[in-house]
Amino acid sequence: MKIGVIAVQGDVREHLRALERLEVKAVPVRKPADLEGVSGLVFPGGESTAIWRLLKWSGLVEPIEELHRSGVPFFGTCAGMILLAREIVNWPERFFGFIDIAVERNASGRQVDSFETELEVKGVGRVPAVFIRAPYIRRVGPGVEVLAEHQGHPVMAREGRVLVASFHPELTEDLRVYDLFLTMCS
């Protein structure tokens, strides 16, 4: 199994390292040819507006949409969740929209309010979670399962083959959330 990690901007190294630790072959994706043969695709943390522009200017938007139609599972953390969401409540652009949720960008506040905590993730257990200028989910569609909440805000969800999290499992040593994604890919 080979997993692609979108590598135009963001904490790509941490995602590649997480996959390496789980003994999965991981490839950075910066051009359409890099998507060849991947069984899953990870959208890292970073700056969502920057990543989106770089994906557009690098000719990656259509190949990624094609990959989604072909049934390959996607996993987005933080900025990655924003890119995969159907609606952004406080931003005029719409990105991929592969999961029927509305998210609010920077909902946890500015950097001085960024935090780490522990979360109960459905089917996984308690995991450490790092939230950095994090988006929160403000609406979930009927087909979406909420997997974790923080202070009443949904922060992790799945719909079909798309998994999203407001936080960064790749910044911690606990990779059980990642395991959940790999199960979806195999």
């Binding site: 904490d11 700056e47 905590t117 910044l171």
Partner: protein, 291 residues
């Protein structure tokens, strides 16, 4: 729930990787930077080229200016305080800026010490010319490092010098025995524990961007080829003829630094770059990197 932990600070810096942080002096410039794909903006009253030209004492920007820029964009906003100026740093933290640059581009406030950055919830980035400076700043709590270069010159040579020196020193450190490391720490004026961490990782334990003199997409790509995680562009964008186009080109070049065909394409027809200054023409006491 814990705020302001080292992991939250350094983790935030990891999110900038592969990106461009742009100096801006107005909300309009900040919007241009955001639209061009900047990962953050640095809110300033004057870009380094103007600070250099006008001389005098360069201080933290007016909080009103910083707030206007924070209101204008959704991406993170950084701001600079003077080296050692704890009060300016506290003001910036109270304003809610996302990152503080304790910067040699401003006139230093403390001739002896840098800020004890562990005392703050907001993360700091600091400049370095070599491994010793980088290690000292990390020991003081910096969550991100940038090589200094020589700001406001449009001349990349000092940025390259500092990155080459840093790389060379890390390479030498890697093969050192414990005894050699301790002696090297003395030579560099660097804490042993930080050097041990760098030796184990084979790189700095925090994100390292390049700064100071980057004016073209090729300059940005060069710094990435030398190992920078990303770039700061100060005067290089808004002192050029076509900031929108140049900003976007530098963003693309920073990501696709190893794709020469794309670099050629984005470097085309960008208009005049900012005027450059030869380092030899600058009097020694006006060089910012030695602050």
């Amino acid at each position: 729930m814990q705020k302001g932990t080292y992991r939250v600070k350094t983790g935030f810096a990891e999110m900038f990787k592969g990106g461009v942080i742009m100096d801006v002096t107005t909300p309009e410039q900040a919007e241009i930077a955001e639209a061009a794909g900047a990962v953050a903006v640095m809110a300033l009253e004057r870009v380094p080229a103007d600070i250099r030209k006008q001389g005098g004492v360069a201080r933290m920007a007016d909080p009103k200016r910083i707030k206007e820029i924070m209101d204008a964009v959704s991406i993170p906003v950084m701001a600079k305080c003077r080296i050692g100026h704890i009060a300016e740093a506290r003001i910036l933290e109270a304003l809610g800026v996302d990152f503080i640059d304790e910067s040699e581009v401003l006139t230093p406030a403390d001739p002896f010490n840098h800020i004890d950055k562990w005392q703050f919830k907001v993360p700091f980035v600091c400049g370095c010319r070599d491994l010793g400076e980088a290690a000292r700043r990390i020991a003081e709590g910096a969550a991100m490092i940038r090589t200094k270069g020589e700001a406001g010159t449009g001349n990349v040579v000092e940025a390259v010098r500092h990155m080459r020196i840093l790389n060379d020193q890390i390479r030498r450190l890697r093969d050192m025995s414990r005894a050699e490391l301790v002696s090297y720490a003395k030579e560099l004026g660097a804490p042993v524990e930080v050097l041990e961490m760098i030796q184990e990782l084979g790189r700095l334990p925090v994100v390292n961007f390049a700064a100071g003199g980057i004016a073209t997409p090729a300059d940005a790509a060069l710094m990435r080829m030398l190992g920078a995680d990303g770039v700061f562009v100060g005067s290089g964008i808004f002192k050029s003829e076509n900031p929108e186009k140049r900003a976007r080109a530098i963003v693309l070049a920073t990501t696709h630094y190893d794709d020469p065909e794309l670099l050629a394409e984005v470097s085309e027809d960008l208009g005049e770059p900012m005027p450059g200054i030869a380092i030899e023409e600058i009097p020694q006491e006006q060089l910012m990197q030695y602050r």
